[in-house]
């Protein structure tokens, strides 16, 4: 891992639970990762794996109630010092000062993430006005026009005054990106920004995000269920399943040498354009109910290489296979053996 000073965000053992009438959903159940300055981290997972909730916790925008960040820390290393986002109140002035200024986010739905009542320019200006209040109206407007031009919106000086419904999906997503970049954030979180778009438009947006990341030198956290998209966007990738990180490695390692049985199964179950697959491998079974509390590995019930008595009894710990590749699976824990369940329970105790 790179040295401490390069780290922008460190998330340690984050837990975000949803307290619902039917029970508690452990949407994010102890995830730890860090993102270096100017680097990009991809997050892959199926629906319900907690990837979006993780991102929302970093912005402190999970709906509370029913959800609550119950544990962990999210350390943000800024020039003026390190702050723990989780210690702040979600709607406190300190948190509001960070949001959009240091961390901003592009959402999945370009149709619903703007208010239909205000013009595009109006909404982007609002973000700038809150964080850089000493600009004049004219300066702000010029800055928004410049931003809109940067994200590839044609005739920005005219389109600054249109309402969101007058733009196509691709253009709206560009405007959303312009808004996210309006205050030069250190970290941009992109939560499935191209899922609602067509492939040729998706290609345009991906190129755009990549070139802007370089230009602005910001870090990127790119969330998607689409492996190919994530692989194009990220230096490092983590794979999530049911609120936990199963595997984390550099993009090359995770594609060429997937270690976790879930990652391996996932890779074989996806029809790709550039691989001629005779038959897709399926992951047997279904996702367990979200209310289930897993004593062991959450993937146990669907895993082809499970070790009964070990994997369902204790949670695997994060094992470092190479300095840039970690996996959370008993198959890679050197001193893990089929127990003696007493042995397994001591492991839990030590965690």
């Amino acid at each position: 891992m790179a040295n401490e000073t390069n780290k922008l965000v460190e998330v340690r053992d984050l837990q975000t639970y949803f307290y619902l009438y039917e029970g508690v959903v452990r949407a994010v159940d102890g995830v730890s990762y860090s993102i270096n300055k100017g680097k990009s981290l991809g997050v892959i997972g199926e629906s319900g794996c907690g990837k979006s909730v993780t991102a929302q916790s970093m912005m402190r925008i999970v709906p509370t109630p029913p959800a609550k960040e119950v544990g962990g820390e999210i350390l943000l290393h800024l020039e003026k010092g390190t702050v723990d986002i989780l210690k702040m109140t979600a709607n406190s002035p300190e948190m509001r000062a960070l949001r959009w200024k240091e961390i901003s986010m592009v959402f999945q739905e370009p149709m619903t993430s703007f208010s239909p009542l205000f013009t595009i320019g109006n909404q982007i200006t609002e973000a700038i006005r809150l964080h850089i209040p000493d600009l004049t109206k004219k300066e702000m407007r010029d800055r928004v026009i410049e931003l809109l031009g940067k994200v590839g919106i044609p005739q920005p000086s005219r389109l600054i005054d249109v309402y969101p419904h007058q733009l196509s999906g691709g253009m709206r997503q560009r405007a959303m990106i312009a808004m996210a970049l309006s205050c030069n954030p250190k970290l941009l979180i992109a939560d499935e920004p191209t899922t609602a778009l067509d492939v040729t438009i998706e290609a345009q947006i991906l190129e755009l995000i990549r070139s802007l990341q370089e230009e602005f030198g910001m870090a990127l956290m790119y969330i998607s269920h689409d492996l190919a998209v994530v692989s194009e966007m990220s230096d490092e990738i983590m794979i999530m399943y049911l609120g936990r990180i199963m595997e984390k490695a550099t993009t090359d390692e995770v594609f060429n040498n997937p270690l976790h049985p879930y990652t391996q199964a996932l890779w074989r179950s996806i029809p790709t354009i550039d691989g001629d697959i005779k038959r897709l491998n399926t992951i047997s079974g279904m996702l367990p109910s979200p209310y289930t509390v897993h004593k062991g590995c959450p993937f146990f019930s669907r895993c082809e290489q499970r070790i009964p008595g070990l994997c369902d009894e204790a949670k695997p710990v994060v094992t470092e296979v190479t300095p840039t590749h970690t996996v959370s699976c008993f198959l890679y824990e050197k001193n893990a053996q089929v127990p003696m369940s007493a042995n397994a329970s001591t492991r839990v105790g030590t965690k």
Binding site: E202, S269, T272, I273, L287
Partner: protein, 334 residues
């Protein structure tokens, strides 16, 4: 699956234009040309993949082929042995017969099942409305098809809300297959599902095809899924069929610049390479550009493309393309 085989389905110059009405008298002031002049043949036992972006008309094509939309003009011919059905001209009684041969699987497993009908009623309804079976016989046939698609017979009287997305899509497949159709139009059957479930459904569709000699028109926007499922691929853009050809040939050496752009745009895992990013967006279907509909986005466009509309023409016995420049260009595939 040779090119000489008798086709199962022939689509000839099919058009589906939706009128736009306006003004006080709701007069027709224009048309959305969702499907415009599409000619296509489908051979028995094959999977024809139809790929295109949203608004390209692929869903409208699928629905018009089954006459869920009345075609504006053109012909759809289904061959059933010696019996030839001209679908647009069929009367109600003949439509029942047609529906036994051609069925549809819908995209959204949450919206395509009636929440107030249990599984027996849902899967059995095609048998009932087409007068094929009722009573105990119907129940037996429903049970049989449920086993075929991997549903549990104990769930016969459950309602859709108690099933997951993947299971619901299995119910949708069972409902299409219960009448023993020859042709199944599958409209984005896996796009609402997670990847691990998607693989299960795709494999199921392949197994069923091999077992019952089904013919699929498989509609999807996902190139990877199309590649996995199809024998031949048809590419649509703005209501037009731009290119049709056997899978391998079309992917490795596309003939239409749009196909090239589409293949290049698809994110790939194997290598990071420079993409050809096509500028612009899919045009408004009520105000299509003159000449070739793709010319404003095409990097090879010349004057003829702006003025003259290209028509589908044969380049080889198996490949057709609608591009003026197809003979001159050498395009990059994958």
């Amino acid at each position: 699956m040779s090119a000489q085989a008798e086709p199962l389905l022939e689509i000839k110059e099919l058009k589906k234009w939706f009128p736009i009405t306006g003004g006080f008298l709701k007069r027709t002031i224009g048309y959305v040309k969702a499907v415009d002049d599409v000619t296509l043949t489908v051979l028995p036992g094959e999977t024809l993949g139809v790929v295109g972006e949203s608004g390209s008309g692929k869903t409208t094509l699928g629905r018009t082929v089954l006459r869920l939309y009345e075609p504006t003009s053109g012909d759809i011919v289904l061959h059933e042995g010696a019996n030839v059905m001209h679908v647009p001209q069929l009367d109600d009684k003949e439509m029942h017969h047609f529906r036994r041969n051609a069925q549809m699987i819908f995209q959204d497993p949450y919206a395509s099942l009636n929440p107030r009908m249990n599984i027996l009623e849902t899967i059995g309804e095609p048998l009932l409305v087409n007068g094929i079976a009722k009573g105990t016989e119907l129940e037996e046939r429903v049970k049989k098809v449920m086993l075929q698609v991997g549903l549990r017979v104990e769930h016969l009287r459950r309602y859709p809300h108690s099933f997951s997305g993947g299971q619901r899509q299995r119910i949708g497949i069972a409902r299409a297959l219960v009448v023993n159709p020859k042709l199944v139009v599958a409209d984005e059957p896996v796009s609402a599902l997670d990847v691990s479930i998607q693989a299960q459904i795709l494999n199921l569709l392949k197994d069923l095809q091999a077992q019952y000699q089904l013919t699929y028109i498989f509609i999807s926007h996902a190139m990877g899924v199309i590649r996995y499922m199809s024998d031949r691929i048809a590419v649509m853009y703005a209501g037009k069929m731009v290119e049709v050809g056997p899978k391998q040939e079309l992917l490795s050496s596309p003939l239409h610049p749009y196909t090239e752009a589409l293949l290049s745009a698809v994110p790939k895992m194997s290598q990071k390479r420079k993409r050809l990013v096509s500028r612009g967006e899919v045009p408004d279907l009520s105000r299509l550009p003159s000449g070739c509909v793709f010319h404003p986005r095409c990097k090879y466009a010349t004057d003829i493309c702006k003025n003259e509309e290209p028509h589908l023409r044969e380049i080889s016995p198996t490949r057709t393309v609608s591009c003026h420049l197809a003979d001159k260009l050498t395009l990059e595939g994958i």
